[in-house]
Amino acid sequence: MKIVVFFKRVPDTGIPVQVNETGNDIVRENLNYVVNPYDEFAIEEALRIKEKVGDAEIVAVSLGDDGAKETLRNALALGADRAVHLKVPTTAFVPPDVTAKAFHQFLSQEGFDLVLMGKEAVDDNFGVVPAYLATLAGVPLLTYVVQLEIGDGKVKVHRETDDGAVEVEAPMPCILTTEKGLNEPRLPTLRGIMMAKRKPIDEVEVTLSDSALSLDHMEMPPKKEAGVVIQDEFPKNVERLLEILREKKVL
């Protein structure tokens, strides 16, 4: 069984970002990058499947500049068997349809039984690459997976919905997107990190296709104005609140 796991390297959301002067990208210097957290559930699940079925190969794939290699090395340290770097000549925003086309091209050459990927990346939050990719590949897509079983060439999953979970079955090959709660991702062991050096990362140059999307501009969210604290006693405070709401024409 071949499991492909797609990774995206994203800026650490714990550190505030700034938009650059031209407004076409964030300031990339001194950013701290991490693996997209939802992708961690994907690789963890792939590792668990491999531990269960035994005969499986995990291929870690990431599209990006040279920094993507770091993400892939991490995947190899966790236990992926090999990695493929889809190298693009830019550090900036790559539209999701372009990414999906590149992934599709890769999958059609590589072949696969199962694709696992995070439900979205926490940098631009588009969350559309899986759907686009599944359409191009013509395979089923099961999103927001929180539980997964594999057997008889099929996957059986629980999908998280607003008011519960839905159980769905699909034949392989198929694409699954992983949601928080699916599993508890492990840390790479020191030995795993040492082994990662000996595993290959193949580099494939990717020419970016045309996109139906174009990035217009980026801007920082407007700064919140300071609030008003009403310190009067009840019921004066309620009266004051109503007064403000009326002034602001909320009521």
Binding site: E70, R73, N74, A77, L187, P188, T189, L190, R191, I193, M194, A196, K197
Partner: protein
Amino acid sequence: MRELKKQGGGFLLEDLQPSEIFTPEDFTEEQRMFGQTAEEFMDREVLPNAEKIEQQDFHILKTLMKKAGDLGLLSVDIPEAYGGLGLDKVSSMIIAEKLAKQGSFSVTWGAHTGIGTLPIVFFGTEDQRQRYLPGLASGDLIGAYALTEPGAGSDAMNIQTKAVPTPDGSSFVLTGNKQFITNAGIADLFIVFAKVEGEHFTAFIVERDTPGLSIGPEEHKLGIKGSSTCSVTFDGVKVSQDQVLGEIGKGHRIAFGILNIGRYKLGVGAIGASKEALKIATQYAKERVQFGKPIAEFGLIQEKLAWMALRTFVTESMAYRLAGLFDEILQPLNPQDPSYPQQIWKGIAEYAVECSILKVYGSETLDFVADETVQIFGGYGYTSEYPAEQIYRDSRINRIFEGTNEINRLLIPGMLMRWALKGKLPLIPKAAATLKESLTLMPSRLSRPEGPLGEEIHMLSMAKRLTLVLSAVAANRFKEQLREEQEVLAALANMVMEVYAFESALLRALKTKSPLMEDAVRLYAPAALRSMEEQAYHVLPYLAAGDELRTLLSTVRKLAKLSVLPDRIQLQRSLAKKVIEKGGYPFGT
């Protein structure tokens, strides 16, 4: 033979090029990944359990040690042949630093992987290594080190525990009391020091369940409360001949030598704990509002944040420079060579002076950082509801264990003197020549090196000169009796330490060309030189009198003279601004 400048203590006599030192900016991707695993292990597994650890929930502590073992965090310094990873010392230090975020866990881990495990790595027989190291590496066995006794603390040679051979010569019977034994309550294995027939200092490996061995109640400690510290009593504990570690009568080599490792690891742990405290203090300073604004906006709070970051930066530069020296000497060794562990041992002993320096400087940096953390928290810092109080309590032990800072201060010039007398270091002629030359030297007329930090490079060379001058004066005055003059030795130690500290930070800034680091060095350099000058004034009137004293004082004054004084207030503020922006330690890692 290594070049003089790269020998232990050689930094006093020769200058290194910036490219010749190792800095955290040189970490490989793999080393950073090791650090990341260690850090995430702390964040995910240890910190959420910190409260339980502090309540001495040893079940949790042991479970966490086992999990650390599963990740490989207990096998870093154990050769691969015995279930370890045999990693380089840079990696080993990165991991020690990252694990220092929680004092009790860090001490438990440090005692286990250091003094609890390494004596077997370095001195164990093949059989002893095969028997114990895989378990110690996995965390199935916990190690402890039992040297200290009620009457033998710093004076460790004075231990009273006896090992009496049985009549048939097959075993020894141990009798005595050990005290303040870290990990005693959870350990499976003890490295025990005793005197065979009351005189031959010898190390033994003693398993916990050996009849006659009993563990006392937990000590009530000021800090690191979650770690286990008990007395261990040996009441006729019979151990077989093959539990002797190393040679009979040579146990002191193990006992004292292993402390070199404990010392540099302690120093590096202090960096991790300082960074954590700085993060917590910065966050608080940004949130706490007084007089209508966050206290982080006030100059005196910024001054604290700046110096907390700066001293941590200096310690970090010292520590990884040492790690780099270790690896240069250890990397070429062949792990297949049967004497491999012994060669590592020798390599580390080469830098015993630097190990002591790092121990003292690191623990005092951490105490400074912890103290300022409490101060930034103000009244809340004095309550146990906020983290500052625990940081303050936990930091204090570092100046005491692994050899008190006083003992280490005596060791620094003590070892240098011994090497000088043995001819290993040409310290004596160099110091004498420097003294002679300095009397007539006109530092203000010397040209400064071109490029950034030229003035600071000059100041460092004056700092080295000052140290050599004082060494020569002290040696002339007391000859071999200098070893009895503790106050003088401590002043020399402070100067030697400051040279190593100043130089490590300066070379790192020159190597990385980071403007932030350059400014840090501009801020640090005058303080370093002035503190050294003060050391000289402290002891010179004791070492000389009359005209000689007057000449020496004026020599010191001119060497330590600051010809350019930077605007330190602005430097502090801009460094503090970086700390506040970053939410903590601003120098990279």
